[in-house]
């Protein structure tokens, strides 16, 4: 399979996947959740990965996040082949280069908001006071400064996800991996979260987002759809207009979008 549809940028590739396969099960039960994925992702892209359940989206994300290292094929992250990395080095890369955002937020319930956000810095070896200050500053960016000492269960879903995003960003990662970040949120909160992500993208972060919700692809700069462990389509979305006043309210689609979507669904 050839590398298809990269954004025409001069940015260096952050992620290069060549014939990536991930096998589950043995013998008769063997099947490939990822079955030959070739992708090149450049710095500063906002990628939405779409596809039906079980097509390997989350598996791909886990592989990209170095949580799953039992793979075939090559995965180069910042030019380094990850198969050469040991578990300690992989942990270090997760700590320094990758930020995770989950559908179910995954804050540690025992720790307060501030400590949750500071958690990634802990594993970077930053002293407590320094990391709490950094976490506090990050929460300020998300307008959560007043919620610093709340426990996660005291926050609304949208707030919790914003805390989770703050946590993902606090160690200044080069890639943000988001697994259905709005899956557990209502449309209003979803909108806010997507605005945040879009804002991050504007500031030069690379974001890879898995989603079921086709509406959210409007925020992305590139949409990859997957099917049966393979990349089905890979299209550059038209560059989202950054003029927020022009944004359509969620739920209303233009005719062209509707047509395009209908076409896609027929496929």
């Amino acid at each position: 399979m050839t590398i298809i549809g990269t954004m025409a940028t001069n940015n260096p590739p952050v992620i290069v996947l060549k014939d990536l396969r991930k096998r589950f099960g043995i013998g008769d039960a063997e099947h490939y959740a990822l079955d030959g994925v070739d992708v090149r992702i450049d710095k500063g892209e906002f990628i939405a990965i779409m596809g039906p359940s079980g097509c390997g989206k989350t598996t791909l994300l886990n592989v990209l996040g170095l949580l799953d290292s039992d793979i075939e094929g090559t995965y180069k992250l910042d030019g380094i082949d990850v198969s050469t990395l040991g578990s300690i080095k992989r942990a270090r890369i997760r700590s320094r280069q990758i930020g995770f955002i989950f559908q179910s937020f995954n804050l540690i319930p025992r720790l307060n908001v501030l400590e949750n956000v500071a958690l990634p810095l802990t594993y970077k070896g930053i002293p407590r006071l320094k990391r709490l200050k950094a976490a506090s500053a990050m929460l300020g960016n998300f307008h959560l400064a007043e919620r610093e000492y709340y426990m996660p269960h005291q926050l609304s879903g949208g707030q919790t996800q914003r805390v989770a995003i703050a946590r993902a960003l606090v160690n200044d990662p080069s890639i943000i991996l988001a697994d259905e970040p709005t899956g557990n949120l209502d449309s209003r909160s979803s909108h806010i979260i997507m605005e945040e992500l879009s804002d991050l993208h504007q500031r030069g972060n690379t974001i890879i987002m898995v989603t079921h919700n086709p509406r959210l692809t409007t925020y992305a700069s590139r949409v990859i759809t997957m099917l049966d462990g393979k990349i089905d389509t890979d299209t550059d979305a038209k560059k989202p207009k950054k003029d927020t006043t022009k944004k359509r309210p969620l739920g209303k689609k233009s005719k062209t979008t509707k047509k395009r979507r209908a076409k896609k669904e027929k496929k």
Partner: protein, 410 residues
């Protein structure tokens, strides 16, 4: 290198606090184990100390000769039947006494012959009252303190006895019993002295002088059918420097007397206390083994709770790994949590152990001993238990697959 120890400790504190009662109960298991070990060690150290103190008090220039071969170990002493020890005829003879007396450097010598038999005064003495036949030299050799009257004296006529203060109280109802007569195995003795209370039932003579009646070997014939058994000969040497030469000479003289048979033992200094000390050590060892079982149970409790904790915090482990924790970080986190449980329990156990030891010592004649070795053992045992039983859950935690751990809707 990242230094996360402080962080792990904070973490352990937080997580143990969030399950306060569970943590307390787990700690309590270790507390009981460490408390029993501390109690045993403190008391046995106290007991061993007593014998040692008595020898030290004698100035280090006392040698003791006992019949029979030197027991190979404390274990042998324990396994030997007391009946056998008690009924074997002594190999020490009056001839030996005379030979030792002649050795240069010996300043005084006293044989100890302990008999059992009925003792009565105004009322009957307790059945186990020891009757000690010795020579007047015992006062000097053993440094015995007389409270009232005087010790045995060769110049005194008739049958005389010195009794211990407790025996005096038991038999006459008072410590002032000088001049009264006491019947030993049916024969009457006049009391010429009462010893000062020593409160030392455990000593190298094997006799509690507080309860004993002491008579002269000369008057022994009438009550012991002419078969005195010398259980021990105490030898006092004029200076410490001469002790070794006296021991060598004594060995030579006795070997000659016994036709080359080494059926006696000459002991000095620490060796005198050793058998007693060793017996205490052996008893302590056996009891400590039992205490170790309770520690084992405490350790299993820790492992159990840690496994539960790992299972409960699967997601937390996944999150921590996702944000950059290495396997080593996770192992350290859970291991330190287990150590916090065991050390916390250990410290509480150490304190509780001394409470119990002091409680028990009310009924004993010696006090528990404080020393760094016991504190070290308590701490070492706690750390060992925490590491031993915390490592497996910690490794299991680290091996948790972060993908599974983070799976949604679980």
């Amino acid at each position: 290198m990242r230094f996360l120890l402080l962080n792990h400790i904070q973490n352990a504190r937080d997580s143990l606090r969030s399950n306060r009662s569970r943590s307390m109960l787990t700690m309590f298991g270790v507390t009981i184990g460490v408390a029993s070990i501390t109690t045993i060690l403190a008391l046995s150290a106290g007991a061993a100390q007593i014998v040692q103190q008595q020898i030290d008090g004698l100035g280090g220039n006392v040698a003791v000769i006992r019949p029979g071969e030197k027991p190979a170990s404390a274990f042998d002493q324990l396994t030997q039947l007391p009946v056998q020890q008690g009924y074997t005829a002594s190999t020490l003879t009056n001839n030996d006494l005379r030979s030792i007396e002649r050795i240069d450097g010996v300043s005084a010598i006293a044989p100890l012959m302990v008999l059992s038999g009925a003792v009565s005064g105004d009322s009957d003495a307790p059945k186990s009252t020891p009757i000690v036949a010795t020579t007047p030299n015992l006062e000097q050799v053993n440094d015995l303190q007389v409270r009232d009257g005087q010790f045995l004296d060769p110049s005194l006529l008739g049958s005389t006895a010195v009794i211990g203060p407790q025996l005096s109280v038991d038999v006459f109802g008072t410590e002032a019993s000088i001049g009264k007569t006491i019947a030993v195995k049916g024969k009457e003795f006049t009391i010429i002295g009462v010893l000062k209370r020593s409160n030392a039932p455990i000593n190298f003579n094997g006799v509690d002088f507080d309860n004993a009646v002491i008579i002269d070997t000369k008057s022994l014939g009438s009550i012991s059918q002419e078969s005195p058994q010398i259980q021990q000969i105490n030898v006092r040497v004029d200076t410490v420097a001469n002790l070794n030469s006296v021991i060598v000479e004594t060995n030579k003289a006795l070997l000659r007397n016994h036709f080359g048979q080494a059926d006696f033992t000459v002991l000095s200094g620490d060796e005198i206390a050793q058998p007693t000390g060793q017996i205490f050590a052996a008893i302590a060892g056996v009891t400590a083994a039992i205490a170790a079982i309770s520690l084992l149970v405490g350790g299993i409790g820790i492992m159990n709770i840690m496994l539960v904790s790992v299972a409960e915090r699967k997601r937390e482990i996944g999150i921590r790994k996702a944000v950059g924790a290495s396997n080593g970080d996770i192992v350290a986190q859970f291991l330190i949590e287990a150590l916090a449980l065991s050390i916390g329990g250990g410290v509480a156990g150490y304190l509780l152990g001394y409470f119990v030891a002091f409680g028990i010592s009310i009924f004993l004649t010696f006090d528990p001993q404080f020393n760094f070795a016991i504190a070290g053992v308590a701490l070492g045992v706690s750390i060992a238990i925490g590491t031993l039983f915390g490592l497996y859950p910690a490794i299991r935690a680290a091996r948790k697959d972060p993908i599974n751990a983070l799976r949604q809707y679980e």
